[in-house]
């Protein structure tokens, strides 16, 4: 049923129109997320969250060693 309804669109160049619209929607969606993230200050501190996630209350040896390698916040 679904296939029959969209058959003329899917079987011709129409497919590429759908792709075009989908790509635009996706890009707009990502742009929206980026703008929202910037606005809410998620790029203000790009270092501490990376450290915070590694420190559990009782970290084991491996975990804390890893985050030593992550000090590249230049």
């Amino acid at each position: 049923m679904f296939y029959l309804l969209f058959r003329p669109v899917l079987c011709t160049m129409g497919m590429i129109y759908i792709m075009l619209i989908v790509s635009l929607c996706l890009a707009v969606f990502f742009l929206g997320i980026f703008l929202w993230a910037t606005k809410t200050g998620q790029y203000d501190d790009d270092y501490s969250p990376s450290v915070r996630i590694l420190y559990e209350d009782e970290p084991d040896q491996n975990e804390s060693n890893q985050n030593n390698n992550g000090n590249t916040n230049g």
């Binding site: 160049m13 742009l31 450290v51």
Partner: protein
């Protein structure tokens, strides 16, 4: 823990060698009681994981700091520090300049374990800030500050509001729109690259019109700053690189619009969006700022916020702007005198080295006038205020010097070459037009726009941000922080380096002690060590510390009486003090020293000298090869022989210079055509730093106050300055290579354009390819070189 190379004991907490004393506690060695206490505190509260990473070091708590945080409990003053208050719950954001690594974040975010009164704490690393929510019924704010100080993070209370939010959100928004358009248009253009033809006209038109719509925000929002800068330059009748960029952008855009509306396809819209996107990335990369450093501090950051005021028998805290003439204030050891005043106590020893450059402590007697800015050494003193702090001598001086000329005719290399660039582009475009008029005149507009499009200096515009941006980051990792990338070009052009002496060539705080006279026995030294133990006078403290460091003295008990401002006398006839105290004629002995006498017989004297910074002599000699050198100092000429040997002949030495004289000296040099790099540290250099072509401030620990400047260098890395400057000089070469590459691409493009073979597809390949090569090249060239010190620090 032992260092295998040197066999010295390394402190378990701060990883510094334990030179003064070794404290053993729970099978670990500590260099001082402070470090041991932090360890104890952490292990008691199950925060031992802090030490699980051996490479991260703790902070040695400053044991000399006796700062009190009563100001936080004063209802009026604390209002400016707290973010909000709801009943007993208070949120406060503190600036903790000592934050430096992942362990710091761990420790600070587990504050609630150290004190249950802390509800939540969150670190902002780039700003070196910590937002803490506390329950005030359990912990007062002053106790919180005290706790932080105890674990090594002393809050800095100067000018909280001045900490700007520098993440440039507008630039990120612009970047977002440009990236969005770039990706979308390029995707839609793929059929075009693969040779779609008029059979699919409907699709071609739709993608072209969509590209046009998406490109509108890029043109009007993202590219805005380039247009503004180009028009600004034209209005000021100068040329900069944004002018050829703007010409290129507009040519690209108009050509594409023409293509879209004449149904030719999407034209060069993909190149247009990519172009703006890359340029903005360059701009973003260049805009690196050190958020926790302040390059523009004014005097208010140097003074304390509040002092203790005496009112009758009572004392109270008083903000320094509220002090009135005639108020009596009490200043403790290590505190700064906030205003010009009269000494009420009998004696005072004041350290003016930061303010005037004078390296000796100054002794003042009752009734003497005392200027603001000095630091009290030794006993607490009482003062009577003569002038309010904003009118004191020191701040008057500061108010005079707001005149850093931002526009001193400096033009960056990039802008200088832009004039040749514009000329070349116009020449080629005209040449191509004339040439084509013989072949096919109809093609002329097409050819001319094509030339303007490919000649757009995108790669060229990316060379500078990436070369200098990388250099600035690299230097920043070595403790050499530049205000922005133009400072790199400024340093390249400096011809003359002027040094301050006190605090720059010599150490700021430590004085070396030398004993001159009859040889002392070990017992005598032990006795001197014992009697200076409880002394308050800074000379006595310096001697005490010197004996402890040079030999391991025996502890003994010896009763001694200290006579304020005179000296110390012990019960067995040992006397240590001023010349008159041991019975000599004071007027003949002017150097800074303490005399030692036993049973009225003078044995000798301890002389206090400034000590040179480590490695500074080699550094100065190296700098002297390519630059002229001078020294201007506020101090007397007595250290001339100490510093003269490593300065090249022909260097200028000026002593006893007032801050104003220093500034005038710099101005005079610059008028004679020199470009001056001034290196200083104190308030007395502020004027000179400000008027110099480049002002470089030294900072002991990046926490202490530095006057406003163009660059800040960690004092311990002054010895590497010649290396840094050589690296900065090499930057010229790096840039030339990048320029050569980007021009090569432009020439290739122009070849296509002139021969009429430029298609949107060629432009799409050429432009990102050139940008990526240049960025890669700049990164490779700048990051290849290693700089000392070879242990990296995090920024």
């Amino acid at each position: 823990m032992k260092n295998p190379q040197t066999d010295t004991v390394i402190c378990f907490h701060c990883h510094e060698p334990a030179t003064e004393e070794i404290i053993r506690f729970e099978a670990h060695d500590f260099c001082c009681n402070g470090c041991k206490q932090v360890y104890q505190l952490l292990s008691e509260h199950d925060l031992g994981a802090y030490y699980s990473d051996q490479t991260l070091t703790g902070i040695r708590p400053n044991k000399y700091s006796k700062k009190r945080f009563d100001i936080l409990d004063d209802p009026a003053i604390r209002q400016s520090y707290i973010d909000f208050q709801e009943g007993n719950t208070v949120k406060i954001t503190l600036h903790l300049p000592q934050i430096h690594c992942a362990s710091c974040i761990y420790l600070l975010e587990h504050l609630s374990k150290l004190n249950p009164g802390v509800i939540h704490s969150l670190v902002n690393f780039p700003k070196r800030q910590c937002s803490i929510i506390v329950d005030e019924s359990q912990i007062a704010l002053s106790e919180l500050a005290h706790l932080l100080t105890k674990i090594g993070y002393e809050p800095n209370f100067t000018k909280v509001e001045a900490r700007k939010s520098t993440v440039n959100k507008r630039l990120l928004f612009q970047l977002g729109f440009a990236g969005f358009a770039f990706g979308s248009i390029m995707l839609w253009s793929f059929p075009e690259y693969l040779g779609i033809d008029q059979t699919y006209k409907g699709f071609r038109d739709l993608s072209a019109y969509l590209s046009f719509v998406v490109s509108l925000p890029v043109l009007f929002f993202s590219a805005q700053d380039f247009f503004k800068s180009a028009f600004g330059a034209l209005r000021a009748k100068t040329l900069n690189l944004d002018i050829p960029i703007t010409i290129g952008i507009i040519a690209l855009y108009l050509r594409s619009c023409y293509a879209i509306f004449s149904n030719e396809g999407p034209g060069y819209m993909d190149s247009f969006a990519a172009f703006i996107f890359f340029l903005l990335i360059g701009k973003w990369f260049q805009n690196k700022t050190y958020q926790w450093l302040s390059f523009e501090r004014d005097f208010t950051a140097y003074f304390p916020i509040a002092v203790i005021r005496k009112q009758g028998d009572q004392t109270e805290l008083c903000p320094i702007d509220e002090l009135k003439v005639g108020d009596q204030v009490r200043i403790r050891n290590e505190e700064i005198i906030p205003c010009d005043s009269l000494l009420l106590s009998e004696k005072a020893t004041i350290d003016y080295s930061f303010v005037t450059g004078e390296s000796d402590w100054v002794e003042k007697n009752q009734g003497d006038m005392i200027y603001a800015g000095g630091k009290i050494c030794g006993e607490t003193v009482e003062l009577s205020v003569l002038k309010t702090s904003s009118r004191s001598e020191l701040t008057q001086l500061w108010n005079e010097q707001h005149s850093k000329q931002e526009n001193d005719g400096f033009q960056s290399r990039q802008d200088r070459i832009s004039r040749y660039f514009i000329a070349a582009v116009l020449l080629i475009a005209t040449g191509a037009a004339i040439g084509w008029s013989f072949v096919d005149p109809v093609q002329i507009p097409e050819i001319v726009t094509a030339v303007l499009i490919v000649a757009c200096p995108c790669a060229l515009a990316l060379s500078v941000p990436f070369t200098y941006g990388n250099m600035m980051r690299k230097l920043g990792r070595k403790g050499f922080y530049l205000r922005n990338t133009t400072i790199i070009e400024r340093i390249q052009q400096c011809t003359h380096i002027v040094f301050d002496k006190t605090g720059t060539l010599t150490e700021q705080d430590t004085k070396s002690v030398e004993y001159i006279g009859e040889p002392l026995t070990l017992e005598q030294l032990d006795e001197v060590y014992a009697i200076t133990k409880h002394a308050t006078h800074p000379y006595a403290l310096a001697i005490h510390q010197w004996i402890r460091q040079t030999l391991r003295p025996k502890e003994m008990d010896l009763k001694a009486i200290e006579y304020a401002g005179l000296g110390i006398a012990s019960e067995n006839g040992l006397k240590l003090g001023s010349a008159s105290f041991v019975g000599m004629d004071e007027s003949k002995h002017l150097e800074s020293c303490s005399y030692l006498a036993i049973q009225e017989h003078v044995l000798g004297k301890f002389v206090f000298k400034s000590s040179l910074r480590k490695g500074v002599s080699n550094a100065v000699t190296a700098l002297g090869c390519a630059h002229k050198l001078s020294v201007v100092s506020g101090d007397t000429g007595r250290d001339l022989e100490l510093i003269r040997p490593f300065f090249p002949s022909g260097s200028d030495f000026h002593f006893e210079q007032t801050p104003v004289a220093k500034k005038k000296y710099i101005d005079k040099l610059q008028e004679s055509g020199e470009r001056v790099l001034m290196i200083g540290d104190g308030l007395n250099d502020a004027g000179a730093l400000n008027s110099a072509f480049v002002g470089l401030a030294l900072s002991e620990d990046l926490v202490r106050f530095t006057p406003s400047s163009d660059a800040i260098l960690k004092a311990e890395n002054l010895q590497f300055l010649p290396e840094y400057i050589r690296y900065i000089q090499q930057g010229k070469g790096f840039l030339k290579i990048s320029f050569a590459f980007s021009l090569m691409y432009n020439l290739t493009g122009v070849g296509f354009a002139v021969s009429g073979a430029l298609t949107p597809f060629v432009a799409t390949i050429l432009m990102p390819l050139s940008s990526i090569t240049v960025v890669g090249l700049a990164t490779f060239l700048t990051l290849r070189k290693k700089l000392p010190p070879f242990q990296e620090t995090i920024v």
